[in-house]
Symmetry: C2
Subunit: 447 residues, 2 copies
């Protein structure tokens, strides 16, 4: 009976295990995870702080016990220390018992994920937290309850940082936001991001840009300019780094930044070793370029592909990613897809900006949506798109993702027959109009 070992039991690993068990009843499946919990909805963690996820238990999709019922063995607090791809073995450390054991596999699925970055000044500061696991959530909740803290400092403007700002405010805390740069949200263009600071100020959040914490002492944080601020709780949301150091001696290829390159079957350079989740390097779907997208959609899709590949269905394939992403920040929805601003500068392109109301303009409550397209000069390809507004942003970015995936150009957006009724759109939708604008612009460029 073949045996699959899965390293990492959160979104990617747990989904791969479930899928594999569903299509193959006999294969041996073992999950090792170095954390306390598996299969929790880590994108939902911030919302338990604010209360939109009313009970933390709702975030747990599966447990070692529920996996045991499906004949999947789960070992938590078991950290894989190294992999030997010649012998098809892993060295695993039981971090509770502090013993090491060896296990062997026919198939290895790597889903190590990424770990939150932090800054030196926050190391060993008891009131400084990250939010990446259910354990982290429990620590934060306990800190809030036990200390009755009513102030928090959030540093960094990754998804977690910004979502925590929203949720801490929702929880009733006074929040100070500290960011080392001027521009707040890296995925979005600066000139589209002006609402971030305005929105924060309107909600009573103290915003301190271009500064960092250099030291924390007794609940007081000192900033680079010498200013001291109350910091009885600090949340660092400054991004993540792939957790792949344990693979350095494995023979599994890693990029310079520690990502695991995979092909369209999810396979690494070693043919019985697969990888998925936040630590992989894949390709963009719409251009021939490598990328890393640390988002859940790709992990779930790759879990399907890998489980089918292992179980013998070789037709399942991963198409690469657009990096379609969205974040809610109070009343705003912010979405982008495709190349980063930096990456797109290598392509001959022009920009189409279009602002239009989300529903028929004569309807009360209609509000503007801003769409920016980066259009390939030669072929009209949509290389990158940003959408910002307070309603209907998710709809537009998803339509763009579906459209681009099947080769739709920016001009071609004019042809999408959206569902029109005054509460939902104009007869010519935001995207239709962006298409018409592109047609005009392309014509002028070709004159």
């Amino acid at each position: 009976m073949p045996k699959a070992i899965i390293i990492g039991g959160v979104a990617g690993g747990a989904t791969a295990a479930s899928q594999l068990r569903r299509i193959d009843e006999t294969i041996d499946i073992t999950i090792y995870d170095k954390g306390r919990d598996i299969s929790f909805g880590n994108c939902g963690l911030p919302y338990n702080i604010g209360g939109e996820v009313s009970r933390r238990e709702k975030l747990i999709a599966a447990t070692p016990e529920s996996f045991a019922e499906k004949n999947v063995d789960v070992y938590t607090r078991h950290e894989v220390m190294s992999v030997d791809t010649d012998k098809n073995t892993v060295m695993v450390k039981d971090t509770e018992e502090n013993v090491e054991l060896e296990d062997s596999y026919d198939y290895l699925i790597l889903s190590p994920g990424a770990a939150p970055r932090t800054v030196p000044a926050l190391l060993d500061v008891p009131e400084a937290f990250v939010l990446h696991t259910l354990e982290d959530l429990d620590l934060i909740q306990a800190h809030i309850k036990m200390t009755g803290v009513n102030k928090a400092v959030v540093i960094g403007a990754g998804y977690i940082g910004l979502e925590m700002i929203e949720n801490l405010v929702e929880r009733g805390l006074d929040v100070t936001f500290i960011h080392r740069r001027e521009s707040i949200y890296a995925p979005l263009e600066d000139d589209l991001s002006e609402f971030f600071a305005a929105e924060m100020e309107s909600r009573g959040i103290t915003v301190k840009l271009n500064t960092e914490i250099v030291e924390v002492n007794g609940g007081i944080a000192t900033l680079t300019n010498g200013e001291e601020i109350e910091a009885p709780m600090i949340i660092a949301g400054i991004g993540i780094l792939p957790q792949t150091k344990f693979l350095e001696t494995s023979g599994i290829k890693l990029t310079e930044t520690g990502l695991i390159p995979v092909d369209s079957t999810g396979c690494t350079n070693i043919d019985n070793v697969f990888a998925l989740g936040d630590a992989i390097e894949t390709t963009y779907q719409h251009v021939d370029q490598k990328t890393n997208v640390a988002l859940a959609w790709g992990a779930h899709r790759m879990a399907f592909v890998i489980s089918h590949q292992i179980s013998g269905d070789k037709s399942a394939a991963f198409e690469g990613l657009l990096g379609t992403n969205i974040m809610r920040f109070f009343d705003y929805d912010i979405a982008t897809l495709g190349l980063s601003e930096k990456e797109v500068s290598d392509y001959d392109h022009f920009i189409v900006d279009h602002k239009q109301r989300n529903k028929a303009g004569y309807m009360e409550g209609s509000i503007p949506i801003q769409v920016r397209l980066y259009v390939g000069r030669n072929d009209g390809r949509i290389l990158r798109a940003s959408v910002v507004g307070k309603e209907g942003v998710d709809k537009r970015i998803d339509i763009l993702a579906a459209h681009i995936r099947l080769g739709g150009t920016a001009m071609d957006l004019a042809n999408i027959e959206i569902a029109y009724s005054p509460p939902y759109s104009s007869p010519k939708s935001v995207l239709n109009m962006a298409g018409y604008k592109t047609i005009e612009k392309m014509k002028k460029l070709n004159e």
Copy 2:
């Protein structure tokens, strides 16, 4: 200087005139409309009754005066009585002055639209109204204001009928809904439509199905079963019929039901006569079959195509329609696209039903969306789709429209990289899951 005559100045005709003027500054353009007003948002009319369109003036996109500034001649209350396609002339009746005049054209654009149907019992009943034009709106508003009526009867369950129910309730009136059939909303499957009656009853609307009004006398309506009900205001929303009788002697081909067949350039059987809007017969986009879609999106798109064709840009083409449509009914959003239930029965297909929450299930306020796909047995083509729910329905139907347009199959829905964050979707969205379900089903069928 060539001359274009446009018959009908509402959505299709007015948009064609604007577009044509924008791309061709010299062509002579004349619009004849038999009504009082042109270029009003007729899909928005019901919402002025309920107040969501706060002022009727907001519904007016252009006037004869604003067109005059663009050098477009508009004649309202001018009904075209006949067209002579040999001589390229139209006979027009000025219905205010009661005189007839002849005018000639190089290009003729037909946008006659459709007129609301009514029932014999409501003819010559002063308190019975339809809602198709701004004039109709003004009559209804005047009736409500002058009589202080606090009860209304709505008959028929077309878009206008159902939207008027919502808006009359919003306005504070007691509403009785009378429908001659058991099933309420024709575009949607009966088993998905059960909420209609429940929703109406929960809002205090009296629902009378399988009955009709046979007589109205002094504000009392008699139904087929002899029952008499108070009917101080009656709104008929029982569908529309193409207004093409004036073309019967023109040589322009009409279908048996009075529709004007057009090709992908918007051209009728006569090569300088074009048509758009509610009265045309076009083809489905995804199957080789004729259809009539009396919705604004197609009219706007065809206005672009026809104006470009006339001005010499022969590349502009109409791709046919999916009939993507949506309606809000109180808290519900109801959307469909593709073949009707009756039409789809001619295709070898299977059904995929999928119900899933609109956002991450652990989020407060996540609510279910129901998706039904009719999938071609041989090719996985999506022949028809229905989507019902209270939030996010418009997003899903629009994604489907974009996907189908570019040849995406039902299986292929699994590959759409939607934007995931807990407030917007699950990592595997409703549509992704419908795709996975289709893959499973197709596999079983092929075993």
